[in-house]
């Protein structure tokens, strides 16, 4: 039986570990140490004053869009490593923006199911392919540098963690804000509003990082296993799953964020989270 009562503690710890320099919010400056050469696993803007390391999606675009490189082996390798080890458990445990949406969802309002909008989950793969990879690589300026299109036009985390706090603390930044800030603030407002009523809408429909990690869910070391003997296919797990996964059919679906709600809901204790490279052992009944 899964126990996910303590997940919020891991999420809080991961958020603070990703953003330890809280005093920088008051000073209106960002951390400029060597740790920024490394990436955190979750979506956390490197222009957040408190951020200790770089956002993997921002870093990916920065290298792809640079004039020196076309392929981003270092960041891609990091993303594959995190994906193979954890899959979308990163989303469920380590991503500050994912946790932010969960906190918003706790507000006492009517909640809406997103099961019928499952087709929208394919949108994030388009965002990954187009805004994170193709556009920074192909639309370049005179010196061969491309813009980070996802960060620039879509990412609400940058506005939440960087734009708004820096605008409060620094008058020169405040004076520089224009139409792009307004556009991204509208996106942030939309995500915030949706997150109150629907569970993790950005994670489900837009996040390119979730799209990437989801590709590794089926091969990741961190996985769910269904005990075929105990499972009665009652569907309690699927009812409990807020990421709209039919857990008993596809326990390692690309949408699963390993939150453990399914394991907690299973009346037969048939679902376990494992962290192992060992092949799941199958058994057969023999008559002796």
């Amino acid at each position: 039986m899964g126990n996910n009562r303590h997940r919020w503690k891991i999420q809080l710890g991961a958020t603070l570990a990703s953003n330890p320099f809280l005093m920088n919010f008051l000073h209106g400056k960002i951390f400029r140490g060597g740790l920024k050469a490394a990436c955190v696993p979750g979506l956390n803007c490197y222009s957040c004053p408190a951020a200790a390391a770089s956002c993997p999606i921002g870093a990916l675009q920065a290298v792809i869009g640079s004039s020196r490189f076309q392929a981003a082996y270092y960041v891609a390798g990091f993303l594959i490593l995190a994906g193979v080890l954890l899959g979308r458990a990163v989303c469920g445990f380590l991503c500050p923006f994912g946790w932010f949406q969960e906190l918003l969802h706790k507000l006492p309002t009517r909640k809406f199911s997103t099961r019928r909008l499952h087709i929208l989950t394919w949108l994030k793969y388009g965002v990954l392919a187009l805004f994170v990879i193709v556009l920074p690589m192909t639309i370049v300026n005179e010196v061969g540098m491309g813009d980070p299109f996802f960060c620039k036009y879509l990412c609400p985390a940058g506005i939440l963690e960087g734009g708004i706090p820096l605008a409060f603390a620094d008058a020169s930044i405040r004076a520089s804000l224009g139409g792009l800030f307004t556009w991204k603030s509208c996106i942030l407002l939309g995500v915030v509003t949706l997150a109150v009523f629907c569970y993790r809408p950005f994670c489900k429909w837009i996040c390119p990082l979730g799209a990437l990690y989801g590709l590794f869910n089926r091969v990741s070391v961190c996985r769910l296993e269904i005990d075929a003997v105990k499972c009665t296919a009652c569907g309690a797990c699927s009812q409990a799953c807020r990421m709209d996964v039919e857990v008993f059919r596809t326990p390692n679906h690309s949408e699963c964020i390993r939150c453990g709600d399914c394991a907690a809901a299973c009346p037969h204790g048939a679902i376990t989270r494992t962290f192992s490279l060992k092949t799941a052992q199958k058994t057969k009944e023999t008559i002796t």
Partner: protein
């Protein structure tokens, strides 16, 4: 009398493939990280990270 015995997955079994895929992906990841570090991509990431990302914060 009925008993449960362990079944060795045949070579074509998806379970066996999955674990090989995991190990291959891990190896590929480490190789890519090493290659990227050797090429100097970490410097690009560092340079981007220590300077305020105007696009990210909505200045453009």
């Amino acid at each position: 009398m009925r008993a449960e015995t362990a079944v060795e997955p045949p070579p074509w079994c998806p379970w066996a493939d999955m674990r090989k895929a995991t190990i291959c992906c891990l190896a590929a990841a480490l190789l890519l990280i090493g290659l990227g570090l050797w090429r100097g991509e970490a410097d690009v990431v560092l340079h981007k990270g220590i300077n305020l990302c105007l696009e990210c914060v909505g200045i453009g």
